[in-house]
Amino acid sequence: MSEGTIKKFLYLNRKAPYGTIYALESLEVVLIGAAFDQDVSLAFVDDGVFQLTKNQNTKGIEMKGFSLVYNALGDYGITKLYVEKESLEERGLTLDDLQDVVYEDENDDYAEKKSILLVSRAEMGQMMETQNVVLSF
């Protein structure tokens, strides 16, 4: 690919937050990476879906909570958060258990739109095949 080409970057999130640092440090890459004007998607698969739960309160474990950062991703131009339906179901979760991540679409008079795209495992597998660079966490 030549210098100016935009690549499709996929952040593959398969781990739960707080038990390990991967979710937090993945988010730090996403935020820095946003400045590079690539075509960015985030995939939440397996325990990765736990990263997006509502009402995370880390006071009792004295760790920094970071769940609200997901809702700020739209401001960084990151608006494609693929969440796997089967991963939710296996974990006893539904979309209602997750945050309502939204962004303002500057191409549509700043209308508020949903960033979370609920997809099946089959669709997730197909989406993966369209990516150029996969960062796994």
Partner: protein
């Protein structure tokens, strides 16, 4: 009796299922860290946990549950919530503590 501790998500690793497969009647299992996800009702492992509740006491560390945004209403009934002080008491009240890392 043993206090078993499980700190891994049962959807990622086999620690909880293996622990419950070994825990003897009357022993206690405490879910901590990512292990607390094992207490969610209606999940893939909920049946295994439910069946174990007939013979084993199952506890969840509440601060870890709160951090992960899992509401108490979502838990398998019969699972008991404790805090760090309760964790210390459980460790003291049982004769041995066995971690399923």
């Amino acid at each position: 009796m043993i206090l078993h501790t499980v700190n891994k998500s049962p959807f990622e690793r086999n620690a909880l299922v293996s622990c419950l497969g070994h825990a003897q009647a009357g022993s206690s299992v405490l879910m901590i860290e990512d292990g607390v996800y094992g207490a969610i009702a209606g999940s893939q492992v909920a049946d295994v946990v439910n069946n174990s509740l007939a013979t084993v006491k199952i506890y969840v560390l509440e601060p870890d549950l709160a951090a992960r945004g899992i509401a108490k209403e979502k838990l398998i009934s019969g699972v008991q919530l404790i805090d760090y002080a309760g964790f210390v008491d459980l460790a003291a009240d049982n004769t041995t503590v066995q971690a399923w890392l």
